[in-house]
């Protein structure tokens, strides 16, 4: 595998970075970076770390890393994760260093502990913390329960003072959304699988309305809604497909994610697993209870519509 970390890779402009990934030969990993400076979203770091866990530790090479570039990567724990020496020692955090370094979460207990530790690290007020811990909990739990990933979920987050937002990246190298959804619903492509996974009430565990005793198929819809209502960016990359929820001027919720303002691509390098990135603006964070009211309306409507679509029509002859 070969990864080039560019000058800039955030959710809005992540497509070229993903397109340039060489995911062949998963035993080896070669990381190169832009020589002058790099500025990348945590989802990129989580992806690099997740791929690093798949590679043979002796076959991981980090070349051409300039000091300005590696400082951030070191602070986020990338080299420690990859088992590579960077030669840089970070003795104290920067004053604005509100971040969560790369963390591997493999089970429910580790997730609960991570969420407990996460909020103090980000210095968040309770109102700001609520959607963030919600998003992390639901996304990581999805990985633990559905991804069938040996390495669990790789998570990291960063606060950006200039834009006053938290960026979160969660990556697994499990079976991907298509295989999970296909257990209950037909999805011929990864994009169709993403569309179904973001639809309220659709879960890979059953095609029964209301889900199973443990899964309802609501988690990703809730998260997409939190992003949409707060005008934040949200992305899912799995298989060869990338779905990006773009900033919206309307709060109107749709059960079908393809009706939301979005971009999509289906010709990316085949990634076995799932990559989820989200930005949460702390300026714009709406009251969580208000978001839940919107969700309640559209969720019930969506279930009703699906139920109605299954009605048999009387035959008049």
């Amino acid at each position: 595998m070969k990864i080039f970390l560019p000058n800039s890779a955030f959710i809005g402009n992540i497509d070229p970075f993903l397109r340039a990934l060489d995911l062949s030969n998963s035993d080896t990993l070669e990381i190169t970076t832009n020589k002058s400076w790099i500025s990348i979203h945590p989802v990129v770091l989580s992806l690099v770390a997740a791929l690093g866990l798949k590679a043979n530790p002796k076959e991981i090479k980090c070349d051409s890393l300039e000091a300005k570039s590696i400082h951030y990567l070191e602070r986020m724990g990338l080299f420690k994760f990859l088992g590579v020496r960077s030669g840089i020692n970070i003795t104290k955090h920067e004053p604005a260093g509100r971040f969560i370094p790369l963390t591997q979460i493999k089970n429910s207990k580790e997730l609960s502990r991570f969420i407990e530790d996460m909020i103090p690290l980000l210095h968040l007020e309770p109102k700001q913390a609520e959607p963030i811990r919600y998003v992390v909990s639901e996304l990581v739990r999805n990985v633990i329960e559905h991804a069938d990933s040996r390495d669990g979920a790789i998570v990291c987050a960063q606060y950006y003072a200039k834009s006053n937002r938290i960026a979160i990246g969660i990556v697994d190298t499990g079976v991907g959304i298509k295989k999970t959804i296909n257990q209950s619903y037909p999805a011929e492509t990864s994009m169709k699988a993403i569309q179904l996974a973001l639809t309220p009430g659709i879960t890979g565990t059953t095609n029964r309305e209301g889900g199973t005793e443990l899964n309802a198929g609501a988690g990703l819809f809730f998260i997409k809604t939190i992003a949409k209502v707060n005008s934040d960016l949200f992305m899912v990359y799995t298989g060869n497909a990338l779905y990006k929820l773009l900033k919206s001027t309307t709060n109107k919720l749709y059960s079908d994610p393809l009706r939301d303002r979005h971009s999509q691509a289906e010709d990316l390098p085949l990634f076995n697993g799932t990559v989820v990135g989200i930005d949460i603006s702390l300026d714009e964070t709406k009251e969580f209870s208000g978001i839940l009211s919107l969700i309640r309306g559209v969720y019930a409507r969506s279930v009703k519509e699906r139920k109605k679509a299954r009605y048999r029509k009387p035959k008049f002859i």
């Binding site: 997730l111 609520e130 919600y134 909990s137 209301g210 005793e213 309802a216 839940l292 309640r296």
Partner: protein, 95 residues
Amino acid sequence: MITIKLFGQTGSFAENKDIARDLRIKEIIPALDKGEDIVLDFTNVEAATQSFIHALISDLIRKYGYEILDKISFKNCNETIQKIIMIVTDYMQES
């Protein structure tokens, strides 16, 4: 009437579905089967995920019918927890 306090097991953020399932199977269902009314006491629980609430109550509605909600009370829920409970009870009754 049996009161089940959640905070001791869930902490302030109720998100662990394993705990929800255990509460349902080990405490709620046995009490309902004895004909008891249940109070789920959310005192000091600041937030809950939809997954947690689903794992806690959805199977009760499926198993006993929506009338079971007459036998369950949700105590000291803040506004967001109330809304999540309403979302789950709505879609379970619609399905």
